[in-house]
């Protein structure tokens, strides 16, 4: 029996027996902590879902109750910075496609938490490739499609896996935000790029006025509660950031213009033509969640390039990778693969790994808990039998909140 197979069986046994409270000792030939140089012959100790030790294995005593796991390479659990997994399911049938509501062009009140299926096979699928955290939710395709949330891939329930139930408000500019509503709402949907931006401006101003009226001293003059405007207010006061999907350079610039007008805190999404407006993005200070490296180049994204991540890195623009949304196949991309191809197309190993770990955590605002390996951080890890980005390497185990999953080896 090959060593890998034996190891896989050992992992499966561990996963079957594994309770959430299992204590683990990960012995890694190379450990990428993302907060310092890689550790050779290193050790990670895990108890109660948290990391208790990261450092050299030499001289460190492994407590007797820790199960020892060996891996060639250990990294922080991978973070997919923009996904629809759990709202869009594997089957692609109407009953498992909840990522886009087409009854109206702007519905910021739709919450990912009310639609996420923690047990959809796609959740386990991405987890089997080392993904431990998703920023998942409503897809591009409506002017405001809803909200995203940040969730672990534990696969039990939305509540038990939650990190941030209301992370971002998803906005689409360009052709993906234009005339996508159906039924009676189609007439109220924008038909052009300029109209879409005009509608957004009007809606944001309405939210600002709603906020003023709610402050009215005379309670009887206060407006009835409006969940849609309340969601936008959370965007306007910075509680929730706007995640604006924009591919064409003019749409990216329109997003930046909106941000200036309303002092919005943005995360730019997609950005197929980011390579044409690097200076403007850099000046804005906003981060980019870049389209999947292997995304199809069509319509608004026909000018996307596989070396854009390298250009963002060179320009000093913070960015992270995403699996994005696919209407057909693959029903989800795997963020490990998207980072891998970028690594091979000019970005290099270190920045590619940062784009699915520590940099993604910073952009999602969860770097205090996720994205790097240090005592006190969540015990989320991805284990590999070689360079994580090499096509022929296997993901041999994934640790989520201290719980070991071995769905693979994949």
């Amino acid at each position: 029996m090959k060593p890998l197979t034996m190891f896989a069986i050992a992992l499966c046994a561990a996963a079957t027996a594994g309770a959430a409270t299992l204590s683990l000792a990960i012995h890694g030939e190379t450990i990428h902590t993302m907060v310092g140089p890689a550790i050779k012959d290193g050790l990670i100790l895990i108890r109660d879902g948290k990391i208790t030790y990261v450092g050299p294995a030499a001289g460190q005593i492994v407590p007797a109750d820790h199960q020892i796991i060996r891996a060639k390479v250990a990294t922080p659990g991978l973070i997919d910075a923009r996904s629809t997994v759990g709202l869009s399911g594997l089957l692609n049938q109407p009953q498992d496609q909840d990522m886009l509501e087409k009854s109206a062009p702007m519905q910021p009140e739709l919450r990912a938490i009310d639609a996420y299926n923690a047990r959809d096979p796609l959740v386990a699928w991405v987890r089997s490739f080392g993904v431990t955290t998703l920023n998942t939710g409503h897809a591009p395709g409506a002017l405001i499609s809803g909200q995203t949330m940040i969730i672990k891939t534990g696969g039990h329930s939305v509540e038990s896996d939650l990190v941030n139930p209301a992370a971002m408000i998803a906005v689409s500019l360009g052709s993906s935000g234009v005339i996508r509503a159906e039924g009676p709402a189609a007439a109220k949907s924008p038909g052009t790029r300029a109209k879409a931006v005009a509608m957004l401006r009007a809606e944001l101003i309405k939210a600002q006025e709603y906020a003023k009226k709610r402050e009215a001293k005379d309670e009887t003059k206060r407006p009835n509660r409006d969940l849609r405007l309340e969601a936008l207010l959370r965007g306007l006061d910075g509680t929730q950031r706007f995640l604006i999907t924009a591919h064409r350079q003019q749409d990216i610039l329109a997003a930046l213009r909106l941000a200036r007008e309303f002092s919005l805190d943005l995360v730019l999404d997609g950005c197929a033509e980011a390579h044409l407006v690097l200076a403007e993005i850099k000046a804005s200070g906003f981060p980019v969640i870049l389209h999947p490296t292997m995304a199809r180049a069509n319509e608004d994204s026909e000018n996307l390039a596989m070396d854009t991540a390298g250009k963002l890195a060179a320009a000093g623009i913070p960015f992270a990778f995403q699996s994005g949304y696919e209407s057909y196949v693959p029903k989800t991309r795997v963020v490990l693969f998207e980072a891998a191809v970028a690594a091979g197309k000019g970005l290099g190993f270190d920045r590619a790994l940062a784009g699915v770990t520590v940099d993604a955590a910073r952009i999602l605002g969860v770097a205090d808990r996720l994205g790097s390996l240090a005592p006190g951080k969540d015990a989320d890890l991805a284990l590999f039998d070689g360079d994580p980005f090499e096509y022929t390497t296997h993901a041999i185990g994934t640790v989520v909140n201290g719980r070991l999953f071995a769905d693979g080896p994949h």
């Binding site: 399911g89 594997l90 089957l91 692609n92 049938q93 096979p121 796609l122 699928w125 991405v126 033509e273 390579h275 044409l276 292997m294 199809r296 180049a297 069509n298 026909e302 000018n303 996307l304 390039a305 596989m306 070396d307 696919e326 057909y328 196949v329 693959p330 029903k331 989800t332 991309r333 795997v334 693969f337 891998a340 191809v341 690594a343 091979g344 197309k345 980005f389 090499e390 096509y391 022929t392 390497t393 296997h394 994949h410």
Partner: protein, 447 residues
């Protein structure tokens, strides 16, 4: 002389020079050569002339012909040009919605040779592809086996067989793609799909025997039927059926029909191949497989697994890979081979699956798919291991002519993408037709 005329004249001259260069043997020396049909050669030489491979072997075993031009490619890896057994590059569509069975429709009449997907395929190292109509019909039309030469018109990319016919297959499909709401001409169920196909092949058998009985007598010959003519080619083994199929039971239905009508068939996609690997192997039918980054997308692909390649290989069945471009991108074709290895296939098997195995599935292995003397000089120059994410396709050569070079900024645009990569290619060839016409002329009409 006006400058534009001068430019035209210069362009034509450079073409003629390129064609003449084919007369001079070119030796690529020092690379690791993966011939596919033989063991890898650490320090190899590949000699090409007039679009064919003259010699391939180790530096110590090959005598470079006197007067040959030598190119130092030390540190690189050379392997055969990739053959994609299922692609939709060129933006073509086949059959329309009028009927589920349209063997008379030719994708030949619809391929756009200036479509950027063809340049992107060259950038991915693909030198030949089976360009197919879609899978929304039981029979959606005739496929086209193309060499991805830098063509001006579709004729420049065609492969002519010994009898002068244009190389291509016949696209068939079963499962859910060709099933539509009952009431129209399309089948509403799997059994009906098979019944319609059987009916059609029986018609073709009768058409064939009518022609045979007529013995050339125009009075007795049946009226020409373009659809049945195609199916007779299939029955005669002259045209290979390229059959889309996903679920294990649909795969077995194809094998059942194949047995009944003894046509040559290649199974495509075969998402559940691992479940019926023994049956596929026993039928002696090859499979062309797609690797997709996650399963699903439709019910019949729910159980798609990357382990299909390994399962078929282990069962002893022939395995090829395909892009199904735009389902996966031609530029990531070698990645599919690597992912097959990740999921248990042998390295040698995976490399065959993107070269010689596919050439066999198109009936073109006598001229492509491996580096052997006498075969077409279709090869790629890689920066390193073909299965590594860090490796780049640096050059793609077809019949001794370079069609892609990563160091050329125009080609690089198609390799990586960027502003303009979605635009149709501007063809710059001029007055004498294509470069290929010139080569044909230079070789006395032979290619």
């Amino acid at each position: 002389m006006p400058s534009h005329i001068l430019a035209v004249a210069t362009a034509c001259l450079s073409l003629a020079v390129a064609a003449l260069a084919q007369e001079t043997p070119v030796a690529f020396t020092g690379a690791e050569i993966i011939p596919i049909t033989g063991e890898p050669i650490a320090n190899g030489v590949l000699v090409v002339q007039r679009g064919k491979i003259l010699a391939v072997g180790s530096v110590s075993s090959i005598t470079i012909p006197p007067g040959a031009e030598t190119r130092d490619v030390r540190g690189k890896v050379i392997m055969p040009g990739l053959v994609d057994s299922h692609s939709h590059i060129g933006g073509a569509q086949g059959a329309d919605g009028s009927s589920p069975i349209q063997p008379d429709v030719r994708v030949l009449d619809a391929v756009d040779v200036r479509h950027p997907s063809i340049q992107k395929a060259q950038a991915g190292g693909i030198t030949a592809a089976n360009v197919m109509p879609g899978s929304g019909h039981l029979i959606s039309g005739q496929t086209l086996y193309l060499k991805l030469r830098d063509g001006r018109v579709i004729d420049d990319l065609l492969i002519k067989l010994a009898d002068g016919t244009i190389a291509g297959g016949l696209k068939m499909a079963n499962g859910t793609n060709s099933i539509r709401t009952p009431g129209g001409p399309f089948p509403g169920s799997r059994a009906k799909s098979a019944a319609l196909v059987r009916e059609q092949y029986i018609k073709a058998q009768e058409y064939k025997s009518k022609i045979e009985r007529a013995k050339g007598d125009p009075e007795k010959l049946p009226a020409r039927d373009l659809s049945l003519e195609m199916l007779v080619e299939v029955l005669d083994g002259k045209r290979i059926v390229q059959h889309h199929t996903h679920r294990h039971d649909d795969i077995l239905t194809v094998l059942r029909l194949q047995k009944e009508f003894s046509f040559k068939v290649v199974l495509h996609h075969v998402s559940e191949a691992a479940k019926v690997a023994a049956e596929i192997a026993a039928a002696g039918v090859p499979s062309s497989i797609i690797i997709i980054d996650s399963p699903g997308g439709k019910l019949e692909a729910r159980d798609l697994t990357m382990e299909n390649c390994a399962a078929l290989e282990k069962a002893g069945a022939a395995v090829g890979l395909h892009t199904d471009d735009g389902v996966t991108d031609s530029r990531h074709f070698l990645r599919s081979a690597a992912l097959a290895v990740r999921a248990g296939m042998t390295r040698a098997g995976a490399l065959r699956a993107v070269t010689i195995a596919n050439a066999k599935m198109l009936g073109l292995d006598a001229r492509m798919g491996s580096l052997e003397p006498g075969k077409d000089a279709d090869f790629i120059v890689l920066s390193g291991d073909p299965l590594s994410v860090y490796t780049q396709v640096e050059q793609t050569w077809i019949e001794g002519m370079k069609v892609f070079d990563l160091s050329d900024s125009k080609d690089r645009l198609y390799a990586l993408g960027g502003a303009g990569a979605g635009d149709p290619r501007r063809v710059q060839l001029c007055c004498f037709g294509s470069a290929w016409d010139i080569i044909i002329a230079a070789n006395g009409g032979e290619k």
